[in-house]
């Protein structure tokens, strides 16, 4: 039964600027440590998760990791993503590719009833969430902004490689770019 004041429940996940941290902790089913490791290895080899792919299914996630610890008896899933976690919770549970991927991993942890009972999956995930006691970031900006910034930085390097770059950057309007052009 819901109560009068659970509307004030604190929102899961701390935010720094537009980005929230989100961490889940699970207990691995007895004797499933090895098969879970194998499942995670498979995950690591899927397109998007291969190191250097930079193409995870969820485009608003900065990074994500699965950590097996305590002699493979426990599993942590730790990530940062853009936006407040609780606003996107329902979306996460209905967007197909992500939940299917998680399904393969959660099978090895305790308390997981499996798809297709989305409500049960939701309760299960929320039960595993632990809000960070401290959280900091070293850059601001959403994944979308950072990708744009990378494209702009690459473009700028191309401009600098042009033989007439120095001349072209003489225009007063380009002073802020010229300030960044020396190294």
């Amino acid at each position: 039964m819901t109560t009068q004041d659970d509307g004030a429940a604190t929102q899961p996940g701390l935010m720094v600027g537009p980005t929230s941290e989100f961490s889940l902790f699970f207990r691995v089913k007895p004797d499933q440590g090895q098969s879970l490791r194998a499942a995670l290895l498979d995950l690591q080899n899927t397109p998007g998760y291969r190191p250097g792919d930079y193409g995870m299914a969820i485009k608003t996630i900065h990074e994500a990791r699965f950590v097996l610890f305590d002699e493979d008896t426990r599993l942590a899933f730790i990530t940062s993503f853009d936006g407040p976690w609780d606003a996107y919770m329902e979306d996460f549970f209905t967007s197909g590719p992500t939940i299917a991927l998680f399904d393969l991993i959660f099978q090895h942890v305790e308390g997981y009833e499996g798809l297709p009972d989305v409500a049960a999956v939701k309760a299960f995930v929320l039960g595993a969430e632990q809000t960070a006691a401290a959280y900091a970031r070293n850059y601001g900006g959403t994944v979308k902004e950072i990708r744009k910034a990378q494209r702009v930085a690459d473009a700028f390097q191309q401009v600098l490689d042009h033989p007439q770059a120095a001349e072209a950057l003489e225009h007063p309007a380009l002073q802020p770019l010229l300030d960044e052009a020396a190294d």
Binding site: M1, G7, T60, G83, A87, E90, D91, T94, P116, V118
Partner: protein
């Protein structure tokens, strides 16, 4: 009994209030009444009388399309003596009420509840009655019936009244046609206005049916109270039309540019023609054609050269624009809108504020206050994280304390409007619940 079955869903249209599901044909006139229940017995008597006046979605429209819709706040249900256990079974946002959610919704500064119009946001607001009609005489007659329903009861006070209207053109105070983008709902028997979007599952709008997640939306108990009901949000939104016009005038090169900037902010031209289909100039025929004016997506325009990613209508319904993100299911954040205008229209070309109060009574109907109304308001309109512009809010309706900016993608270089003041101020509002007709009966017959 009138029911319509689509995809296995049978909506009990004889039990659902028409106001939640069906658009009124424009033009129309209307009135919003807020009532306070001081005496419980009179309150139940009121509900009994209103039950006789409320229109089920299944009944045939009267020639003048006169309709009465009834909804209650949390305090209203409490005043009627709904058992605590049942009150507790409503979603927390409803129990808290809109004023308590002000900080989350961006209702701060000039829009904060301490500046709201009395009695909006107070626990005195118990019952909301909306009467709409395409005919002024019919409206008066229906409003008179609603008046009699409460005026003969000494324990009921009329505490607020707001006249409203919709012009034949469908245009609201800023000059734009409104009420175009609307989801269709399975089981209502009304065809989709957007041929590219599947109708929403009934449970997105009406309680007691599966929603887009495949689950039943959280429903208050007992069953008879929750089923076939819907949450209704209303907000009185003052529009600073003169400030909006002067801002555009100051930023635009000429009159045509003013129209273009306005269209870029909204995502549609004043006629309603969507930028996605008419990117260069207004196309009034397109704007007026219900078969075409919603027949578009954004997939061919990811950077927003035609329709800016930050424009109001694209924010409020990004359609397929976020499909690649993998983190948003747009269908979880749709809503039925039933906005109407209030106050005098500021004559064309006037850019001096005449001090008149004008704007829209924004009305939302949906099964999920949090993931529909509050999500759209907070994540899509007040914030820009989702489009990679955290510092930009909706140019037209975004809550902003400090002047904002708005980026318009165009070649060769983007245009950015700076120092944009807020153009919309919240005057107040409430979260309500519009119960089914059988729930109205149940409420009238409570014996607590």
């Amino acid at each position: 009994m009138s029911t319509v079955t689509t995809n296995g869903i049978t909506l009990d249209l004889d039990d659902i209030q028409a106001g939640a599901l069906y658009e009124r044909p424009s033009p129309y006139v209307g009135v919003y009444l807020l009532l306070r229940i001081r005496d419980r017995a009179d309150g139940r008597d009121l509900v009994r009388r209103l039950h006789r006046l409320a229109n089920p979605a299944g009944s045939a429209d009267t020639p003048d399309n006169t309709s009465i819709t009834v909804a209650f706040t949390y305090h209203g249900l409490k005043a009627l003596g709904v058992p605590q256990e049942s009150l507790d079974s409503f979603v927390p946002e409803f129990r808290e009420g809109m004023a308590a959610r002000a900080a989350i919704l961006g209702d701060t500064g000039e829009s904060s509840p301490e500046h709201w119009e009395e009695p909006l946001g107070s626990s005195d607001v118990h019952v909301a009655v909306v009467v709409l009609s395409s005919d002024a005489a019919q409206l008066r007659e229906a409003a008179e019936k609603a008046r009699q329903a409460h005026a003969q009861l000494p324990g009921i006070d009329l505490i607020w009244r707001q006249d409203c209207y919709q012009l034949a053109t469908g245009r609201t105070s800023f000059g734009f046609k409104d009420g175009i983008g609307q989801p269709s709902v399975e089981g209502t028997g009304r065809p989709s206005m957007n041929p590219r979007q599947q109708p929403l599952k009934a449970g997105e709008i009406i309680l007691g049916y599966p929603d887009e997640t495949g689950e039943l939306p959280p429903m208050p108990t007992p069953d008879v109270l929750g089923r076939n009901g819907t949450y209704v949000v209303f907000r009185k939104l003052h529009t600073k039309v003169a400030a909006y016009r002067s801002y555009l005038r100051a930023k635009a090169a000429d009159r045509a540019d003013e129209d273009l900037l306005g269209a870029k902010m909204v995502g549609r031209w004043q006629s309603g023609a969507p930028l996605a289909l008419a990117p260069e100039t207004d196309d009034p025929e397109l704007g007026a054609d219900p078969r075409r004016n919603n027949d578009f997506t954004f997939a061919d325009d990811p950077r927003g050269f035609k329709c800016p990613v930050g424009s109001h209508a694209r924010r409020a319904n990004p359609r397929d624009a976020l499909d690649e993100d993998g983190s948003v299911d747009v269908r979880l954040h749709r809503m039925i809108r039933r906005g109407t205008s209030y106050g005098p229209i500021l004559p064309d070309d006037v850019t001096e504020d005449d001090g008149a109060d004008r704007g829209i009574i924004f009305v939302f109907a949906g099964a999920h206050l949090k993931r529909q109304f509050e999500f759209v308001k907070t994540q899509w309109l007040n914030d820009g994280i989702f489009i990679g512009a955290p510092l930009e809010s909706d140019p037209l309706v975004g809550a902003r304390q400090d002047p904002g900016s708005f980026t318009i993608a165009q070649r060769p270089i983007r245009r950015r409007l700076q120092d944009m003041p807020p153009f919309v101020i919240t005057r107040g509002g409430e979260y309500c619940f519009a119960p089914s007709l059988s729930a109205l009966r149940w409420l009238a017959e409570l014996d607590t």
